[in-house]
């Protein structure tokens, strides 16, 4: 009996390893990055810096979860960055920094705007039967244009207490609690819920999904709505850190969310991926940026490097497929 149990256990470990080899390698890589960063800057592993790292990873982590869900479905969302920009502008412009609860209404409206943006993508993709790449490139321009129209120059002010709370400066370690909370929530939705399984089914074989009675339209619409919601959450955290409105703030998030998802083991072909990969991917991207800042690489080169990292990650994931 105990032998049997032992065999079952070792089988389980092997199975977990087999399905998650990529994630295991990614965490090894992350460990190397941490060591490199620690050597370059002894302060890197200080509590303060780790706190900062978690804080600054928050927006990219959340929006990458959105990207992951869309990728699991076999689609791609190139408008997430613009949704972040638009939500940021709406949130700040409606903000009444002097009122004690002047952030409540803007918060609700801003999130609603993000969800609507996502639903609009979903509507065009399901009802008009258009491919997600094209739709989200087009809507990305629309959302981005609207944001610039509403707020041509960066500016505005953010409610101070709200911002401090989100950043964990009010005594409550909100960033860490939130990170864990988001992780658990996304894990349950993407990997343990029937919704997550349906999303993967649609991404893996839509004929199979259809014959098993899954409404592809409803799943896609829900997933895009959810992606819009997560993008707006991401934007809210970003806004609390920047404390102003800037229509272009989200631009780099589209590419970075893809990079994080792919680095984290999400397959562009659908079905495969999970939040445990995405969170590691987010840290990797943030540490790369952190290191680049430490060694004084100009932010223009950082764009180049972000692009290279994405291509590198794609190359690895396509090699793995073979």
């Amino acid at each position: 009996m105990s032998k049997m149990n032992l065999r079952m256990n070792s089988f389980k470990i092997k199975e977990v390893m087999q399905r998650n080899t990529h994630v295991v390698y990614m965490y090894l890589f992350l460990l190397i990055m941490v060591i490199v960063a620690g050597i370059l800057d002894p302060d890197f592993l200080s509590m303060r810096n780790i706190n900062n790292l978690i804080l600054s990873s928050q927006p990219i982590f959340i929006v990458s979860c959105a990207q992951m869900i869309i990728l699991l479905m076999g689609d791609i969302d190139l408008s997430l960055g613009s949704i972040i920009g638009l939500v940021n502008v709406v949130f700040v412009m409606l903000m009444q920094p002097e009122q004690p609860y002047g952030f409540v209404v803007p918060l609700v409206v801003a999130i609603a705007v993000g969800v609507l943006c996502g639903l609009m993508n979903g509507f065009l993709i399901t009802k008009m039967h258009l491919p997600s790449v094209i739709v989200t490139i087009a809507t990305s321009n629309i959302f981005g244009g609207l944001a610039l129209f509403a707020c041509p120059v960066p500016g505005g002010k953010v409610h101070n207490i709200f911002s401090r709370f989100i950043m964990g400066r009010q005594g409550f370690p909100f960033p860490i609690v939130l990170m864990i909370g988001m992780f658990v929530a996304i894990y349950l939705v993407a990997s343990r819920s029937t919704f997550g399984m349906k999303v993967r089914a649609v991404g893996g074989n839509s004929f199979a999904a259809y014959t098993t009675g899954i409404s592809i339209e409803r799943i896609k619409l829900t997933a895009y709505g959810l992606a819009g919601f997560l993008a707006s959450l991401s934007s809210i955290f970003l806004t609390s850190q920047m404390r102003c409105a800037d229509a272009t703030v989200g631009n780099s998030f589209t590419v970075n969310s893809l990079t994080v998802a792919v680095v984290g083991g999400t397959a562009l072909s659908g079905s495969v991926g999970g939040v445990s990969g995405v969170i590691g991917g987010s840290f990797i991207i943030m540490i790369i940026n952190n290191i680049l800042n430490l060694i004084n690489v100009s932010s223009f080169y950082q764009y180049v490097i972000q692009g290279l990292v994405l291509i590198f990650a794609l190359a690895i994931s396509s090699k793995r497929k073979k």
């Binding site: 004929f207 098993t212 079905s271």
Partner: protein, 498 residues
Amino acid sequence: MDAENILELQKISKHFGGVTALDEVDFSCRRNEIHCIAGENGAGKSTLLKIISGLLETDHGHMFLNGETMRFKSPHVAQKHGIAMVYQELTLIPELTVEENIFLNIEPKNKLSIIDRKQVSNNLAQLMEEYNIILAPRAVVKNLSIAEQQMTEILKILVRNPEIIILDEPTSALAQGEVEKLFKIMRTMKARGKTLLFISHRLDEILDITDRVTVLKDSRLVGTYETSDLDHNKLIRAMVGRSLTSIFPKLNEIDTEQTVFSVESFSVGNKIRNVSFSVYHGEIVGIAGLQGHGQTELLNGIAALMPHTKGTVSIHGTPVVMHKPWDAIRQGIALVPVDRKTEGLLLDLSVKDNLALASLDKRKRRKFIDRKAEKAFAQEMVKRLTIKCANEQIAVKNLSGGNQQKVVLGKELGIEPKVLLFNEPTRGIDIEAKSEFYSIMRKLASQGVGIVVVSSDLMEVIGICDRVIVLYEGKVSGILAKEEMSEESIMRCAVGLG
């Protein structure tokens, strides 16, 4: 309406555009029987079953389930009424596990929609025991063999506990031993009170397992027969209106002095080890064996789609060096692949474009395609292979399976091959088209093209090949001459007893 009929269809018609797929077909099925729908390809078998399973809707006619009028808007609705179908197309998610696939959309869950994995495992273990199916529940489906994937499909159907189970050509992709296993499971289903409907092209199977057979021809009903009243010839006559002996062409003279093609101690990784054989002028050589014993790898190795690790290939006695597929093509080695839809054809392009594809460089003026020459080439090929199509401009996807397969062959003939390799050349095509195909193969052989055929259909191997090489675990386990060939002798070698 007969009381023992669980399902009854009256005057069912279905049209696709201008094409009639079913023309006022009546069909009935008794409770707890195994009922085969037989007929040539394009006879309307799949269409009929897809209507029953809710994937397609009828244009006219009525369907009664347990005496009640039914009309299914989707497969899901049919499932709710106890009808489930295993389609020919894969309905599994390759990246998900066996148990995730089986329980897709009916997962036991808690209030928050979180899947109860323990419950899933228990239910599945119970079901597998009931039907004596052994599969690793956590294995990822893409890593499974075709037979295992099919078992997963079947479990996926069974877990929904349907009354009527429909299987569309479940055996076409299986080797002999796996078919036996499947039939055992089908018999268990019957013993548990299920009603089974299935399509098969293999006559032995039909006669072996069914209680009744319904034959369709040209979208119409020919008749429904008790299997006990049928034999091979009666069944074939019902399906095509001619008898078995006329299916395979006469053999031709073989000139053993003249070797067209030979491979010498050929190895492909550990899939093929030290295989040697030759093909003489006029000869068709078969490669048989159970699925997964290296047949496909041997052909792919010869065609240089996979790198060979050892050995030589000679054409007309001269060794040829091949590293990449285009080397093989240049040397005159052509392959008709196993899956015409994914490996052989560009389904949306025309018959002409597909035919021209392999030999584009032969008909160019400067750097551009000589459209006149191409058209002439396509028309000649259509005539030579009697490809049935309105004209050569029509998209290949509109052709029947047999004619599509002829297009694949015609494409390969464009390079004027010296050696033609066929991988399951007649899988899923009807008897009449098969017969035509065999004649073409014979004719090519008599013209001096070396022909090698991989097939899991033993009747076909025995009927068409002059010699058969049986593979077992990637090695030759037997070479049988025409007079030594029988299903038993081939199977003995295929399980390594040769």
